[in-house]
């Protein structure tokens, strides 16, 4: 390659090809599941009420694609020692980000318009996304290694967010989007150009400065906080009684904070949003239920922290330090599962305590219990939320514990690409009746596959003496109990069907599968 920009572009795309593919396919998976379900429910996508959904989805995908673009490019510092002008580093990085985000969003909108007839606008959101990623990237460089970074990024993202919402009708007569960014006028175009040009100028200044090792002047708050909080809680602690206790301490100190911190952060953000935008006491309970019910979503991120036994955040292969512990792999896996259970227990305890205190205050202020917990919230959802969270975190953590998450990401991408191709082909080549039967067959195959894989995991773990028979029997009892509970609860719902039971019974296996999967994963990672 004779051209520096070409070589840089090749390196970035080579480095991030799997991120790009995984992110794009993941986005298509989520959107096709949501819109597929809505289409089945007979929702008209041209209905004005869908404008808000469309605007929110577009914003979410801009965010997702931008994060993937900023993630795969890597730090520009890797190029500082090459004979490349700072302006070239800036230009190539920004252009590649803009192109990849713009192209991914363009393709997403095109596919949505083709398959779901959503009539989403193409150029407004695409150009906005490209300008946004460009400005955020320049801001990140400008505030590199500085405590100013979150504030600066929030200000830039906030200003651009206001612009987007304003163009969707928010603030000009409504609280929610009323139109999509259908036409790009001269002011919009000028705005995009100005934001992009400013980003290039700021980026160039930032990279030239960072290259010399200079940074923004710190306020000293971070250093002060570090000094204040840097106490040693274990200074006078007694020695550990066993390797398992020491390992549990290690895991807890390193990863146990994840879920409790997520709950505290979620409560803080939720309360702030409620105080500023909502201020309706009747919605506090719903907010709590949403946080508790969807805790498995941030749990997915925590799962990959829990499942990482590598030396670096990006390297899941078990390092020498952990690998050379005189401890059985099964015991190491057990401590990780135990720490996850403790972390989840603490997280849901914080949630429960906060809910109870808030509920008591609301009751004392005259609200009826039905205003705090809506009547249509079933009792079993309070059991399903922590169990679902446990299943999501431990299954994903087990994948991480194998030390080969990229292998699983590639397999998932390949399966989903096949699924997408199958769906597309079936739309064009198969009659509707056959398509429905095929879809039904796939819905049966998934829980069957989950059950089969779970059984296989237990057999493999037993054969390798990674778990004992009593654990396997206990897991079987838990699974049978959960399945029975599913059937008992299902009997309360007259519309419940066999397929629904089957899917839930399959999913229940995910609660116990990690008991066998985690030791196998640790063993596979530790001894290669």
């Amino acid at each position: 390659m004779r051209s520096i920009p070409l070589a840089m572009t090749w390196e970035m795309l080579q480095r991030g090809r799997w991120y790009l593919i995984a992110c794009f396919l993941g986005a298509q998976l989520i959107i096709s599941i949501v819109f597929g379900a809505l289409a089945r429910a007979g929702v008209d996508f041209e209905d004005p009420s869908m404008v808000g959904v469309g605007a929110s989805f577009l914003l979410t995908y801009m965010f997702l694609f931008s994060v993937s673009a900023l993630g795969y490019q890597g730090p520009p510092s890797r190029l500082y020692t090459y004979p490349i002008p700072s302006s070239t580093i800036v230009s190539v990085h920004l252009l590649v980000s803009m192109a990849s985000v713009g192209l991914q969003l363009w393709l997403t909108i095109f596919l949505m318009n083709t398959f779901f007839k959503t009539h989403w606008p193409l150029w407004g959101p695409v150009m906005f996304a490209a300008a946004t990623v460009c400005s955020i990237q320049a801001t990140i460089w400008l505030t590199e290694k500085s405590a100013w970074a979150p504030l600066a990024i929030a200000v830039v993202a906030g200003l651009l967010g206001f612009w987007y919402h304003f163009r969707c009708g928010v603030g000009a007569g409504g609280r929610f989007p009323t139109v999509l960014w259908t036409s790009v006028n001269l002011v919009d175009f000028g705005g995009f150009l100005a934001v992009t040009a400013a980003s290039f100028v700021v980026g160039n200044f930032a990279i030239s400065r960072n290259r010399c090792g200079e940074q923004l002047k710190p306020l000293g708050i971070h250093a002060w906080l570090c000094r204040v909080l840097d106490f040693d809680p274990d200074e006078k602690a007694l020695p550990f009684r066993s390797p398992a206790e020491a390992q549990l301490w290690y895991e807890w100190r390193l990863k146990g904070w994840g879920m409790p911190a997520t709950v505290v952060f979620g409560l803080f953000i939720g309360m702030t949003i409620w105080l500023i935008f909502v201020r309706d006491p009747k919605l506090i309970g719903t907010g709590f239920l949403v946080l508790g019910g969807y805790l498995s979503v941030p749990g997915m991120v925590c799962a990959f922290i829990i499942g990482n036994t590598g030396r670096l955040d990006t390297d899941f292969e078990m390092g020498h330090f952990l690998g050379s512990r005189p401890m059985k792999s099964a015991e190491m896996a057990r401590t990780i599962l135990k720490m996850t259970a403790q972390s989840l227990l603490l997280a849901f305890s914080i949630w429960t305590l906060a809910f109870l205190v808030t509920g008591a205050i609301l009751l004392a202020s005259g609200l009826a219990p039905a205003d705090i917990i809506p009547k249509d919230v079933p009792w079993w959802s309070f059991l399903a939320a922590p169990l679902g969270c446990w299943a999501v975190i431990t299954v994903l953590a087990s994948i991480g514990l194998t030390g080969r998450p990229m292998l699983f990401a590639q397999i998932c991408c390949a399966v989903f690409a096949l699924y997408l191709a199958g769906v597309c082909l079936s739309v064009f080549f198969l009659p509707e009746k056959v398509r429905e039967q095929l879809s039904l067959a796939v819905t049966y195959i998934i829980p069957m596959a989950i059950l089969s894989v779970t059984v296989w995991l237990f057999i493999a773990a037993l054969r390798r003496h990674l778990i004992d028979w009593s654990s396997a029997v206990a897991c079987a009892i838990v699974w049978i109990s959960l399945s029975s509970l599913v059937v008992l609860i299902g009997m309360q719902y007259p519309k419940g069907n066999l397929l629904g039971y089957f899917v839930l019974v399959g999913m229940a296996a995910l609660v116990v599968a990690p008991i066998a999967a985690a030791p196998l994963a640790v063993s596979w990672n530790r001894t290669r």
């Binding site: 030396r311 020498h320 005189p326 401890m327 530790r526 001894t527």
Partner: protein, 299 residues
């Protein structure tokens, strides 16, 4: 080449016909090695020779694709507690958790080793000038190596495994590591296995040496044997020669005309007889450094 020297006690590490491939690349090729109990065993080889791969097999972090690995007579993959509990290990990457404090690292590591000697750990901490409250991430490269060495030594392991312990370190830390090795072998019956390509260090402390190249053991013997058997000899011939004639035990040769210099791995008396047989006289002979012996074997 298997070690010919028999030991009265069972070997501490016994590797037979070990082969390891990473994709198409053969990292270890039918390698056999015996590390006897007691003393310092130096494993020397260039970059990518297979030293770390071999050590990872000894620690049970890699499973033998072919052949067998036994440490203390046990399979390290099947019995990590039985083997790793008796090994002190310092990795080349100084892979220690950045977030821990030195005191926490000591307390955490202590839990895994019933033989942990608290007073010895404290003695080492003080001699290495390590602050208990300091976080690992704030330590210099040399201090990190010292912290790693502390937790590797404080349980007085039967086998101390050091993978490139001195790479990238200043002379003071290198001296600390060498002193630690010497102190460890001073405890009767203990064994040190260390890999390095800093051959002057190996020469200073190793009792036995194995040269590994392209995943195979080229040579293994005691340091004395190696030094005695490897000689550089210069032969003078009566007539000028275009190519050097074959000489028993020669590893490499250079020169021109009537004088040719050989690096040989054989006894001196045999060498003289062989030189006479091809019509040459020995005009100069010299002992070789380990560095020269290593280079002559791998080139």
């Amino acid at each position: 080449m298997l070690d010919s020297i028999s030991s009265s006690t069972s070997p501490i590490v016994e590797i037979r016909g070990l082969t390891r491939k990473f994709g198409d690349k053969v990292a270890l090729n039918d390698l056999s090695l015996v590390v006897p109990r007691g003393g310092v065993f130096g494993l020397i080889g260039g970059n990518g020779a297979g030293k770390t791969t071999l050590i990872k097999h000894i620690l049970g972090m890699l499973k033998a694709q072919q052949g067998s690995v036994h440490v203390f007579g046990l399979d390290p993959v099947q019995d990590p507690v039985g083997t790793l509990g008796r090994i002190g290990y310092l990795s080349e990457e100084r892979d220690l958790p950045d977030w821990m404090r030195v005191g926490e690292l000591i307390r955490y590591t202590q839990a895994f080793f019933p033989n942990w000697d608290e007073s010895y750990a404290e003695e080492l901490r003080q001699s290495f000038d390590l602050d208990k409250k300091a976080r690992i991430k704030t330590l210099s490269r040399g201090q990190r190596a010292r912290a790693g060495l502390l937790v590797a030594l404080a349980h007085r392991p039967e086998l101390l495994v050091l993978d490139e312990p001195s790479s990238g370190l200043d002379p003071v830390v290198r001296r600390d590591i060498l002193c630690a090795i010497i102190r460890t072998i001073a405890d009767e019956g203990r064994t040190v296995l260390f890999s390095s390509h800093l051959l002057d260090e190996v020469e200073r402390v190793a009792d036995r040496v194995a040269i590994i190249h392209h995943g195979q053991i080229m040579l293994t013997a005691s340091m004395e044997e190696i030094k005695e058997q490897h000689r550089r000899v210069t032969l003078r011939f009566e007539q000028s020669l275009d190519h050097p004639p074959e000489l028993i035990g020669s590893i490499s040769s250079s020169g021109h005309g009537k004088e040719w210099t050989y690096v040989c791995n054989t006894e001196m008396s045999q060498l003289r007889n062989a030189a006479e047989a091809i019509g040459a006289t020995v005009v100069e002979e010299a002992a070789l450094t380990l560095d020269e012996i290593f280079i002559s074997h791998i080139l």
